[in-house]
Protein backbone atom coordinates (compact mmCIF):
# COMPACT_ATOMS: atom_id res chain seq x y z
CA UNK A 1 0.00 0.00 0.00
CA UNK A 2 1.09 3.59 -0.58
CA UNK A 3 1.29 6.10 2.23
CA UNK A 4 0.55 9.79 1.66
CA UNK A 5 1.98 13.03 3.08
CA UNK A 6 -0.03 16.23 2.96
CA UNK A 7 2.69 18.74 2.10
CA UNK A 8 0.48 21.68 3.07
CA UNK A 9 0.42 20.32 6.60
CA UNK A 10 3.96 18.94 6.88
CA UNK A 11 6.27 21.28 8.80
CA UNK A 12 9.37 19.13 8.64
CA UNK A 13 9.56 17.94 12.26
CA UNK A 14 11.23 14.81 10.90
CA UNK A 15 9.68 12.36 13.36
CA UNK A 16 8.52 10.03 10.56
CA UNK A 17 12.06 9.83 9.17
CA UNK A 18 13.29 8.89 12.65
CA UNK A 19 10.78 6.09 13.14
CA UNK A 20 10.90 4.68 9.60
CA UNK A 21 13.99 6.01 7.80
CA UNK A 22 13.53 3.48 5.01
CA UNK A 23 10.04 4.88 4.26
CA UNK A 24 10.31 8.63 4.93
CA UNK A 25 13.03 11.23 4.42
CA UNK A 26 13.26 14.99 4.82
CA UNK A 27 13.87 16.85 1.55
CA UNK A 28 16.04 19.93 1.09
CA UNK A 29 12.85 22.01 1.30
CA UNK A 30 12.37 20.79 4.90
CA UNK A 31 9.33 18.73 3.97
CA UNK A 32 9.00 14.97 4.38
CA UNK A 33 8.80 12.66 1.37
CA UNK A 34 7.83 9.04 0.93
CA UNK A 35 10.72 6.99 -0.41
CA UNK A 36 8.85 3.90 -1.47
CA UNK A 37 5.96 3.23 -3.87
CA UNK A 38 4.69 0.40 -1.77
CA UNK A 39 4.98 -0.04 2.00
CA UNK A 40 5.62 -3.70 2.74
CA UNK A 41 3.48 -5.45 5.34
CA UNK A 42 6.49 -5.69 7.63
CA UNK A 43 6.75 -1.87 7.73
CA UNK A 44 3.04 -1.16 8.39
CA UNK A 45 3.49 -1.00 12.15
CA UNK A 46 6.20 1.66 12.01
CA UNK A 47 4.24 3.69 9.47
CA UNK A 48 1.19 3.50 11.76
CA UNK A 49 3.36 4.90 14.56
CA UNK A 50 4.63 7.66 12.25
CA UNK A 51 1.02 8.60 11.43
CA UNK A 52 0.20 8.90 15.12
CA UNK A 53 3.37 10.73 16.07
CA UNK A 54 3.29 13.33 13.31
CA UNK A 55 2.66 16.57 15.22
CA UNK A 56 0.82 18.05 12.22
CA UNK A 57 -1.32 15.01 11.36
CA UNK A 58 0.15 15.18 7.84
CA UNK A 59 0.59 11.45 7.14
CA UNK A 60 -2.21 9.08 6.19
CA UNK A 61 -3.04 5.88 4.41
CA UNK A 62 -5.24 6.53 1.35
CA UNK A 63 -8.86 6.58 2.48
Amino acid sequence: MRVLIDLDRCQGHGQCAQIAPDVFALGDDERAYVLVEDVTDARHGDVDDAIVMCPEAAIAWPS
Binding site: Q11, G12, H13, G14, Q15, Q18, I19, D48, D49, I51, V52, M53, C54, P55, E56, A57
Partner: protein, 402 residues
Amino acid sequence: MANVHDLDLPVVDLRSPEYEADAIGTWRAARDRSWIARTATGFAVLTHAEARTILKHPDFQVTFTYVDPAYSEYLHERQKHGLMASNGPRHVRLRGVAVRALRPHIVDALREPMRKIMDELLDAALVGDTCDIVAQITDPYPARVMTPILGIPSEDLPEIDRWASDSVMIFDVARLKELAPRIEASGREFDAYVAGLIERRRNDPGSDVISELIRVYDQDGKIDEAELRMLVGSLIPAALDTTRGQLGFTMESFVRHPEQWTRFVRQPELAERAVEEGLRFAPSVSGISHIALRDTSIRDVDFPAGSVVVVYPRSANHDAAVWEHADEFDVGREPQLHFTFGFGAHACLGAQLARIEMAEALSAMAARVATWELAGDVPHQPMSSNGNRLALPVRFTLQDAS
Protein backbone atom coordinates in the same frame (compact mmCIF):
# COMPACT_ATOMS: atom_id res chain seq x y z
CA MET B 1 31.96 35.89 13.54
CA ALA B 2 31.23 37.01 17.06
CA ASN B 3 31.10 34.96 20.23
CA VAL B 4 27.59 35.19 21.69
CA HIS B 5 29.01 35.95 25.13
CA ASP B 6 30.70 39.11 23.80
CA LEU B 7 27.71 40.58 21.96
CA ASP B 8 25.78 43.62 23.06
CA LEU B 9 22.32 42.04 23.29
CA PRO B 10 18.94 43.15 24.63
CA VAL B 11 18.43 41.87 28.16
CA VAL B 12 15.09 40.42 29.27
CA ASP B 13 14.38 39.96 32.98
CA LEU B 14 11.77 37.23 33.34
CA ARG B 15 11.23 38.17 36.97
CA SER B 16 10.51 41.84 36.29
CA PRO B 17 7.05 43.38 36.80
CA GLU B 18 7.13 44.49 33.12
CA TYR B 19 7.51 40.89 31.97
CA GLU B 20 4.84 39.71 34.38
CA ALA B 21 2.41 42.33 33.05
CA ASP B 22 3.16 41.90 29.33
CA ALA B 23 5.45 39.01 28.37
CA ILE B 24 4.59 39.17 24.68
CA GLY B 25 5.21 42.94 24.50
CA THR B 26 8.51 42.57 26.38
CA TRP B 27 9.67 40.01 23.82
CA ARG B 28 8.49 42.22 20.96
CA ALA B 29 10.63 45.11 22.17
CA ALA B 30 13.69 42.84 22.36
CA ARG B 31 12.90 41.24 18.98
CA ASP B 32 12.83 44.67 17.33
CA ARG B 33 16.53 44.93 18.17
CA SER B 34 17.89 41.42 17.70
CA TRP B 35 17.02 37.76 17.04
CA ILE B 36 18.62 36.82 20.33
CA ALA B 37 18.50 38.24 23.86
CA ARG B 38 20.24 37.63 27.13
CA THR B 39 18.36 36.30 30.19
CA ALA B 40 19.45 35.04 33.60
CA THR B 41 18.96 31.45 32.44
CA GLY B 42 20.44 31.45 28.95
CA PHE B 43 20.17 33.13 25.57
CA ALA B 44 16.60 33.65 24.41
CA VAL B 45 15.83 32.90 20.76
CA LEU B 46 13.26 35.45 19.64
CA THR B 47 12.54 34.89 15.95
CA HIS B 48 10.67 32.15 14.10
CA ALA B 49 13.33 31.11 11.58
CA GLU B 50 16.09 30.88 14.19
CA ALA B 51 13.81 29.07 16.64
CA ARG B 52 13.12 26.46 13.97
CA THR B 53 16.82 26.18 13.14
CA ILE B 54 17.85 25.60 16.76
CA LEU B 55 15.05 23.16 17.58
CA LYS B 56 16.24 20.99 14.67
CA HIS B 57 19.97 21.59 14.91
CA PRO B 58 22.11 18.47 15.48
CA ASP B 59 24.54 20.54 17.59
CA PHE B 60 21.78 21.56 20.02
CA GLN B 61 19.98 19.17 22.34
CA VAL B 62 16.99 19.63 24.61
CA THR B 63 18.36 20.24 28.06
CA PHE B 64 16.66 19.48 31.32
CA THR B 65 19.54 20.02 33.67
CA TYR B 66 17.62 22.97 35.11
CA VAL B 67 17.62 21.69 38.64
CA ASP B 68 21.06 22.07 40.11
CA PRO B 69 21.85 18.92 42.13
CA ALA B 70 22.79 21.31 44.93
CA TYR B 71 19.09 22.31 45.08
CA SER B 72 17.76 18.77 44.68
CA GLU B 73 19.68 15.64 43.73
CA TYR B 74 16.36 13.80 43.40
CA LEU B 75 14.86 16.20 40.85
CA HIS B 76 18.12 16.37 38.97
CA GLU B 77 18.27 12.58 38.54
CA ARG B 78 14.57 12.43 37.71
CA GLN B 79 14.93 14.96 34.92
CA LYS B 80 18.00 13.23 33.55
CA HIS B 81 16.03 10.03 33.00
CA GLY B 82 12.87 11.67 31.68
CA LEU B 83 11.46 11.54 28.18
CA MET B 84 12.47 15.12 27.38
CA ALA B 85 16.06 14.42 28.37
CA SER B 86 16.39 11.27 26.29
CA ASN B 87 17.70 11.45 22.76
CA GLY B 88 18.58 9.23 19.81
CA PRO B 89 17.51 5.56 19.69
CA ARG B 90 16.33 5.44 23.34
CA HIS B 91 14.07 8.42 22.70
CA VAL B 92 12.59 6.90 19.53
CA ARG B 93 12.00 3.61 21.38
CA LEU B 94 10.28 5.27 24.37
CA ARG B 95 8.08 7.44 22.18
CA GLY B 96 7.23 4.35 20.14
CA VAL B 97 5.80 2.80 23.30
CA ALA B 98 4.04 5.91 24.61
CA VAL B 99 2.37 6.48 21.27
CA ARG B 100 0.37 3.25 21.53
CA ALA B 101 -1.95 5.17 23.75
CA LEU B 102 -2.63 7.69 21.01
CA ARG B 103 -3.58 5.59 17.99
CA PRO B 104 -6.10 7.41 15.74
CA HIS B 105 -8.99 5.03 16.44
CA ILE B 106 -8.53 5.64 20.18
CA VAL B 107 -8.34 9.41 19.78
CA ASP B 108 -11.29 9.63 17.38
CA ALA B 109 -13.45 7.57 19.71
CA LEU B 110 -12.92 10.27 22.33
CA ARG B 111 -14.75 13.04 20.47
CA GLU B 112 -18.20 12.06 21.69
CA PRO B 113 -17.25 11.64 25.35
CA MET B 114 -15.38 14.96 25.20
CA ARG B 115 -18.45 16.76 23.92
CA LYS B 116 -20.65 15.12 26.53
CA ILE B 117 -18.31 16.04 29.38
CA MET B 118 -18.05 19.65 28.18
CA ASP B 119 -21.86 19.86 27.90
CA GLU B 120 -22.21 18.66 31.49
CA LEU B 121 -19.70 21.24 32.70
CA LEU B 122 -21.58 23.93 30.77
CA ASP B 123 -24.93 22.84 32.24
CA ALA B 124 -23.49 23.56 35.66
CA ALA B 125 -21.52 26.71 34.79
CA LEU B 126 -23.99 28.56 32.57
CA VAL B 127 -26.48 29.35 35.28
CA GLY B 128 -27.44 32.99 35.88
CA ASP B 129 -25.23 35.37 33.93
CA THR B 130 -21.76 35.02 35.48
CA CYS B 131 -19.23 32.24 35.87
CA ASP B 132 -15.53 31.53 36.21
CA ILE B 133 -14.45 29.92 32.94
CA VAL B 134 -11.21 28.54 34.40
CA ALA B 135 -12.57 27.12 37.65
CA GLN B 136 -15.83 25.79 36.26
CA ILE B 137 -15.05 24.86 32.66
CA THR B 138 -11.48 24.70 31.37
CA ASP B 139 -9.74 23.38 34.50
CA PRO B 140 -11.98 20.40 35.25
CA TYR B 141 -12.48 19.42 31.59
CA PRO B 142 -9.18 17.66 30.67
CA ALA B 143 -9.14 15.72 33.93
CA ARG B 144 -12.72 14.53 33.38
CA VAL B 145 -11.84 13.51 29.81
CA MET B 146 -8.53 11.85 30.55
CA THR B 147 -8.89 9.98 33.87
CA PRO B 148 -11.00 7.12 32.47
CA ILE B 149 -8.67 6.86 29.48
CA LEU B 150 -5.58 6.81 31.63
CA GLY B 151 -7.07 4.38 34.12
CA ILE B 152 -6.95 6.70 37.12
CA PRO B 153 -9.67 6.49 39.79
CA SER B 154 -11.43 9.85 39.83
CA GLU B 155 -11.19 10.08 43.63
CA ASP B 156 -7.39 10.38 43.22
CA LEU B 157 -7.80 13.57 41.20
CA PRO B 158 -7.47 16.23 43.93
CA GLU B 159 -4.15 14.81 45.05
CA ILE B 160 -2.86 14.40 41.49
CA ASP B 161 -3.94 17.95 40.86
CA ARG B 162 -1.82 19.25 43.71
CA TRP B 163 1.21 17.23 42.57
CA ALA B 164 0.76 18.40 38.99
CA SER B 165 0.55 22.07 40.01
CA ASP B 166 3.72 21.68 42.06
CA SER B 167 5.52 19.80 39.30
CA VAL B 168 5.10 22.55 36.69
CA MET B 169 6.96 24.91 39.03
CA ILE B 170 10.04 23.19 37.69
CA PHE B 171 9.68 25.40 34.60
CA ASP B 172 9.96 28.49 36.77
CA VAL B 173 13.69 28.50 36.19
CA ALA B 174 14.24 31.87 37.80
CA ARG B 175 12.79 30.72 41.14
CA LEU B 176 14.03 27.14 41.23
CA LYS B 177 16.32 27.46 44.21
CA GLU B 178 13.49 28.50 46.53
CA LEU B 179 10.93 26.14 44.98
CA ALA B 180 13.07 22.98 44.80
CA PRO B 181 12.21 21.54 48.26
CA ARG B 182 8.47 21.80 47.62
CA ILE B 183 8.76 20.34 44.10
CA GLU B 184 10.89 17.49 45.42
CA ALA B 185 8.50 16.59 48.25
CA SER B 186 5.61 16.58 45.81
CA GLY B 187 7.62 14.63 43.23
CA ARG B 188 8.42 11.89 45.72
CA GLU B 189 4.76 11.52 46.69
CA PHE B 190 3.73 11.41 43.05
CA ASP B 191 6.38 8.81 42.14
CA ALA B 192 5.20 6.58 45.00
CA TYR B 193 1.62 7.02 43.77
CA VAL B 194 2.61 6.02 40.23
CA ALA B 195 4.37 2.87 41.46
CA GLY B 196 1.24 1.92 43.44
CA LEU B 197 -1.04 2.70 40.49
CA ILE B 198 1.00 0.43 38.21
CA GLU B 199 0.63 -2.39 40.74
CA ARG B 200 -3.13 -1.82 40.99
CA ARG B 201 -3.55 -1.87 37.20
CA ARG B 202 -1.28 -4.88 36.86
CA ASN B 203 -3.52 -6.85 39.25
CA ASP B 204 -6.72 -5.47 37.76
CA PRO B 205 -6.04 -4.51 34.12
CA GLY B 206 -8.53 -2.62 31.95
CA SER B 207 -8.63 -1.13 28.47
CA ASP B 208 -6.96 2.05 29.71
CA VAL B 209 -3.61 3.50 28.66
CA ILE B 210 -1.71 2.53 31.80
CA SER B 211 -2.87 -1.08 31.52
CA GLU B 212 -1.76 -1.02 27.87
CA LEU B 213 1.70 0.28 28.80
CA ILE B 214 1.99 -2.47 31.42
CA ARG B 215 1.08 -5.05 28.77
CA VAL B 216 3.80 -3.63 26.50
CA TYR B 217 6.25 -3.83 29.37
CA ASP B 218 5.31 -7.37 30.39
CA GLN B 219 5.11 -8.78 26.87
CA ASP B 220 7.66 -7.00 24.63
CA GLY B 221 10.39 -6.19 27.11
CA LYS B 222 10.86 -3.01 25.08
CA ILE B 223 11.06 -0.93 28.24
CA ASP B 224 12.26 -1.64 31.78
CA GLU B 225 10.38 -1.07 35.03
CA ALA B 226 11.98 2.33 35.65
CA GLU B 227 11.03 3.43 32.13
CA LEU B 228 7.49 2.16 32.62
CA ARG B 229 7.17 4.30 35.76
CA MET B 230 8.73 7.27 34.01
CA LEU B 231 6.33 6.99 31.05
CA VAL B 232 3.25 6.68 33.27
CA GLY B 233 4.54 9.51 35.45
CA SER B 234 5.07 11.72 32.39
CA LEU B 235 1.76 10.88 30.81
CA ILE B 236 -0.38 11.92 33.77
CA PRO B 237 0.66 15.59 34.01
CA ALA B 238 1.00 15.79 30.23
CA ALA B 239 -2.61 14.68 29.85
CA LEU B 240 -4.09 16.70 32.71
CA ASP B 241 -2.16 19.88 33.14
CA THR B 242 -1.11 21.06 29.68
CA THR B 243 -4.51 21.15 28.01
CA ARG B 244 -6.24 22.95 30.85
CA GLY B 245 -3.48 25.55 30.89
CA GLN B 246 -3.78 26.18 27.16
CA LEU B 247 -7.59 26.21 27.18
CA GLY B 248 -7.48 28.88 29.89
CA PHE B 249 -5.20 31.03 27.75
CA THR B 250 -7.28 30.45 24.62
CA MET B 251 -10.52 31.36 26.38
CA GLU B 252 -8.93 34.48 27.83
CA SER B 253 -7.97 35.48 24.27
CA PHE B 254 -11.59 35.03 23.21
CA VAL B 255 -12.95 36.96 26.19
CA ARG B 256 -10.60 39.85 25.47
CA HIS B 257 -11.48 39.78 21.74
CA PRO B 258 -15.29 39.47 21.76
CA GLU B 259 -15.55 40.11 18.01
CA GLN B 260 -13.54 36.91 17.42
CA TRP B 261 -15.97 34.93 19.59
CA THR B 262 -18.92 36.31 17.61
CA ARG B 263 -17.18 35.34 14.39
CA PHE B 264 -16.50 31.81 15.66
CA VAL B 265 -20.10 31.42 16.84
CA ARG B 266 -21.28 32.34 13.33
CA GLN B 267 -18.70 30.11 11.66
CA PRO B 268 -18.33 26.99 13.81
CA GLU B 269 -16.31 25.41 11.00
CA LEU B 270 -13.44 27.62 12.18
CA ALA B 271 -12.95 25.38 15.25
CA GLU B 272 -9.67 23.85 14.08
CA ARG B 273 -8.26 27.23 13.11
CA ALA B 274 -9.43 28.79 16.36
CA VAL B 275 -7.58 26.10 18.31
CA GLU B 276 -4.42 26.74 16.30
CA GLU B 277 -4.67 30.51 16.65
CA GLY B 278 -5.22 30.16 20.40
CA LEU B 279 -2.05 28.07 20.64
CA ARG B 280 -0.10 30.57 18.57
CA PHE B 281 -1.39 33.77 20.11
CA ALA B 282 -1.23 32.93 23.81
CA PRO B 283 0.98 29.89 24.43
CA SER B 284 0.79 28.16 27.81
CA VAL B 285 4.49 27.37 27.47
CA SER B 286 7.30 29.63 28.62
CA GLY B 287 10.58 28.38 27.18
CA ILE B 288 12.12 25.30 25.54
CA SER B 289 15.80 25.00 26.55
CA HIS B 290 18.60 23.61 24.42
CA ILE B 291 22.30 23.26 25.07
CA ALA B 292 25.11 23.43 22.51
CA LEU B 293 26.82 20.02 22.46
CA ARG B 294 29.88 21.44 20.70
CA ASP B 295 31.10 24.79 19.42
CA THR B 296 28.64 25.81 16.75
CA SER B 297 27.28 28.88 15.01
CA ILE B 298 23.88 30.20 13.99
CA ARG B 299 23.73 32.99 11.44
CA ASP B 300 26.80 35.06 12.28
CA VAL B 301 26.99 34.18 15.97
CA ASP B 302 29.28 31.60 17.60
CA PHE B 303 27.88 29.50 20.46
CA PRO B 304 30.60 27.77 22.48
CA ALA B 305 29.85 24.22 23.67
CA GLY B 306 27.67 24.39 26.78
CA SER B 307 25.82 27.56 25.76
CA VAL B 308 22.17 27.37 26.79
CA VAL B 309 19.63 28.77 24.34
CA VAL B 310 15.92 28.95 25.09
CA VAL B 311 13.19 29.19 22.45
CA TYR B 312 10.28 31.29 23.72
CA PRO B 313 7.02 30.59 21.86
CA ARG B 314 5.64 33.86 23.26
CA SER B 315 8.22 35.58 21.09
CA ALA B 316 8.69 33.32 18.04
CA ASN B 317 4.90 32.82 17.63
CA HIS B 318 4.53 36.60 17.19
CA ASP B 319 7.27 37.09 14.60
CA ALA B 320 6.01 39.61 12.01
CA ALA B 321 8.20 37.94 9.38
CA VAL B 322 5.80 34.98 9.46
CA TRP B 323 2.42 36.39 10.51
CA GLU B 324 0.73 39.53 9.28
CA HIS B 325 -0.57 41.59 12.20
CA ALA B 326 1.10 39.03 14.42
CA ASP B 327 -0.13 40.67 17.62
CA GLU B 328 -3.78 40.37 16.60
CA PHE B 329 -5.92 37.42 17.63
CA ASP B 330 -7.51 36.26 14.36
CA VAL B 331 -9.33 32.92 14.40
CA GLY B 332 -9.58 32.80 10.62
CA ARG B 333 -5.83 32.69 10.12
CA GLU B 334 -4.26 30.07 7.89
CA PRO B 335 -2.39 27.81 10.34
CA GLN B 336 1.40 27.88 10.15
CA LEU B 337 4.08 26.36 12.29
CA HIS B 338 4.09 27.72 15.84
CA PHE B 339 6.18 26.45 18.74
CA THR B 340 3.60 25.87 21.45
CA PHE B 341 3.88 22.10 20.90
CA GLY B 342 7.64 22.42 20.48
CA PHE B 343 9.19 21.34 17.22
CA GLY B 344 11.18 18.43 15.81
CA ALA B 345 12.10 15.19 17.56
CA HIS B 346 10.66 16.27 20.94
CA ALA B 347 7.48 17.91 19.64
CA CYS B 348 4.45 17.15 21.83
CA LEU B 349 3.35 13.52 21.51
CA GLY B 350 -0.22 14.37 22.37
CA ALA B 351 -0.62 17.30 19.95
CA GLN B 352 -3.28 15.60 17.85
CA LEU B 353 -5.24 14.54 20.91
CA ALA B 354 -4.95 17.99 22.48
CA ARG B 355 -6.17 19.70 19.30
CA ILE B 356 -9.26 17.49 19.13
CA GLU B 357 -9.89 17.95 22.87
CA MET B 358 -9.74 21.73 22.53
CA ALA B 359 -11.78 21.85 19.31
CA GLU B 360 -14.58 19.86 20.96
CA ALA B 361 -14.49 22.17 23.97
CA LEU B 362 -14.62 25.37 21.93
CA SER B 363 -17.36 24.02 19.66
CA ALA B 364 -19.52 23.01 22.62
CA MET B 365 -19.15 26.49 24.14
CA ALA B 366 -19.85 28.26 20.84
CA ALA B 367 -23.05 26.27 20.42
CA ARG B 368 -24.43 27.80 23.63
CA VAL B 369 -22.71 31.05 24.55
CA ALA B 370 -23.36 34.16 22.45
CA THR B 371 -21.04 36.59 24.29
CA TRP B 372 -18.45 36.69 27.06
CA GLU B 373 -17.46 39.83 28.91
CA LEU B 374 -14.59 40.03 31.38
CA ALA B 375 -15.95 40.63 34.90
CA GLY B 376 -12.85 40.80 37.08
CA ASP B 377 -9.12 40.30 37.34
CA VAL B 378 -7.35 37.32 35.80
CA PRO B 379 -4.85 36.02 38.36
CA HIS B 380 -2.21 33.71 36.93
CA GLN B 381 0.93 31.76 37.74
CA PRO B 382 4.18 33.65 37.13
CA MET B 383 4.86 34.26 33.44
CA SER B 384 8.44 33.08 34.03
CA SER B 385 6.75 29.70 34.51
CA ASN B 386 3.89 28.67 32.23
CA GLY B 387 1.66 31.51 33.46
CA ASN B 388 -1.49 29.39 33.68
CA ARG B 389 -4.66 31.34 34.33
CA LEU B 390 -6.07 30.68 37.81
CA ALA B 391 -9.45 32.37 37.28
CA LEU B 392 -11.35 33.93 34.39
CA PRO B 393 -14.47 35.63 35.78
CA VAL B 394 -16.99 36.56 33.08
CA ARG B 395 -20.49 37.75 32.42
CA PHE B 396 -22.11 35.79 29.59
CA THR B 397 -25.19 35.77 27.41
CA LEU B 398 -26.66 32.61 25.94
CA GLN B 399 -27.79 32.08 22.38
CA ASP B 400 -31.50 32.45 21.69
CA ALA B 401 -33.24 29.19 22.39
CA SER B 402 -35.00 29.40 19.03
